[in-house]
Amino acid sequence: MSDSQTDRTGPRTLFEKVWSEHIVREDAGAPAVLYVDLHLVHEVTSPQAFDGLRARGLKFRRTDRTVATMDHSTPTLPRRLAVVDPQAAAQLAKLKANCAEFGVTLYDLDSAEQGIVHVIGPELGVTQPGCTIVCGDSHTSTHGAFGALAFGIGTSEVEHVMATQCLLQSRPKTLEVRVDGKLPAGVGAKDIILAVIAKIGTGGATGHVIEYRGTAIEALGMEERMTVCNMSIEAGARAGMIAPDETTFEWLEGRRFAPKGDAWTAAVAKWKTLKTDPGAKFDASVSLDANTLAPMITYGTNPGMGIPVTGNLPAAGTGETASDRAALAKALDYMGLTAGAPIAGQRVDVVFIGSCTNSRMGDLRSAASVFKGRKVAPNVRVLVVPGSKAVKRQAEAEGLDVVFKDAGAEWRESGCSMCIAMNGDQLSPGQYAVSTSNRNFEGRQGRGGRTLLASPLTAAAAAVTGKVTDPRTLMGGAT
């Protein structure tokens, strides 16, 4: 693979353009010093980094490039109730104290802008094309939907960025994921990304930055692009990116922190150059035909274990290696599912609609289209958790909250909620959940809980039927 020094002349990928623009210094035998334009901070992965700054007597270099919010350990019960978990309360208090001490903007629980960090960044317009964006959270890849280079980092690196606004980064490889064609009705962004991960596996993109391209990607709206990029990490990718275009600019224009006036015109002119040049080479490439995709759902304990909702689980003994076969057997044992059986019809106890993957307006509208005029099936608990307070306000303005509540679903406050189950929202052992979140790892949604990942449409279909159901059978409204 050529290094960035030699790439500056020939055709370049979107990634190479953003990467080289942010190199502060590159020494032989050392990773690049990469500049970070935007640092997003939340309560779970930041306290030890703030402590590190204090212990070393370091200054916080660019508070003006830092935005903090509370989302992970945040309860989604009405905000007037106190945070009952003392450890979570202490963590939230610590973030507030740290942000006050160092002068970092914090959208806390009482703020009108609070929400999941990957929902509010784009909403506020701080997420912009061509930026480098990091956060102590692996789903930072979400912001790549805008043509930003955005990736998750650990707490040590959170401290590095606080102190220097830079990171030491080895240059990743590039992976082109092409999705051409037209998505059939009832098939959306979540189904694309679940199909991609099912194809390449949870480690399939390790060491790579993905660029999603092709006519089916270009046809997606911004929220859908965020859903796709969000789950790049579930294929092991360092980041996922989509070239900015008119859809991107239209979505961003007028947002609070987006450039205004002449600055906007200049920014758009620059952003238009952020696309992969004809003839630029990727280190690897895979492609998918959108025309043949169906609603996807996972059956196992990693996001690569996905099948069409109309399909059957793999037969016993499926797998290239002994290790693959063992992994399948272990996953099916944990999930309590039968090899070779159809996934449709599987009993569901809980439906979760939310998370940084699927908690935006389009997701809620899509789910509401199924709930409208229908009731949640008996013995099913349904949580609908908007990604931010802004999403909650907009959904309420459109009357979606009434649709959810009339159907028998819970309409909650914004936060990560049952995606991470460290805030009171969680499954009981053995329960089956169809969830619009991003991870179906063992215990991810509560110890012993069994997660089936799917789109908001498929999740809503499960909610009203009480079992895994092809949402296309319910489209066109209640009968």
Partner: protein, 200 residues
């Protein structure tokens, strides 16, 4: 300005535990409910919490880290794509807290690998043949030991010929000399100033 020096990592010879599953994610290494702490210490007791304890709360005596022969082990031998999922640095904090200094696996997830090295936990990627030999040696002798020589970039079953492993040269330098990456970045402040001036 005080730059923290870390303990150097040079050689290690120790017994090991084997957790052969592929794709062990960081939610297994340290479940999210333990992430409400605000410091790095004390997570060792919770490493692999949901695998180390049965649903009724009793100790799962079959789990490799709970077996008597795991006592004193400083190396974990794992399956491929170890550490996938969440970016939580609590994962290496918990592994180190339990007493581990190195993980040997066919492959690692990117963020975990970076986080591990920043905490003196050495990820060693080995090929399938050597991985199989380690598992075989462990089956034959629970007291089998592994020797790691980071400066030489070799790993060996004790008493057998060493094999070479690859590691990013900069990461190796940092581990061997206990160099802290933040110190390195801070020394480049003038470059950062220049970059910011140019891009203001």
């Amino acid at each position: 300005m005080k730059i923290e020096a870390k303990d150097p990592f040079t050689t290690l010879a120790a017994t090991f535990v084997v957790l052969p599953a592929d794709n062990v994610d960081t939610d297994q290494i340290i479940p999210a409910r333990f992430l409400k702490v605000t410091d790095k210490k004390g997570l060792g007791d919770s490493v692999f919490a949901d695998w180390r304890r049965l649903p009724d709360g009793s100790v799962n005596t079959d789990f490799p880290l709970n077996r008597p022969d795991a006592k004193g082990a400083q190396i974990l031998v794992a399956g491929q794509n170890f550490g996938c999922g969440s970016s939580r640095e609590h994962a290496p904090w918990a592994l180190v807290g339990w007493g581990l200094r190195a993980i040997i696996a066919p492959s690692f997830a990117d963020i975990f690998k970076g986080n591990a090295m920043k905490n003196g936990l050495l990820p060693i990627a080995v090929d399938a043949a050597f991985h199989a030999r380690i598992l075989e040696a462990r089956r034959a002798d629970p007291a089998a030991r592994i020797a790691v020589d980071l400066p030489a970039q070799t790993v060996a079953l004790e008493g057998q010929p060493p094999v070479r492993f690859e590691i990013d040269p900069f990461a190796k330098e940092c581990l061997v000399h206990g160099i802290d990456e933040l110190g390195y970045l801070l020394e480049r402040s003038a470059d950062i100033d220049r970059y910011e001036a140019k891009h203001a």
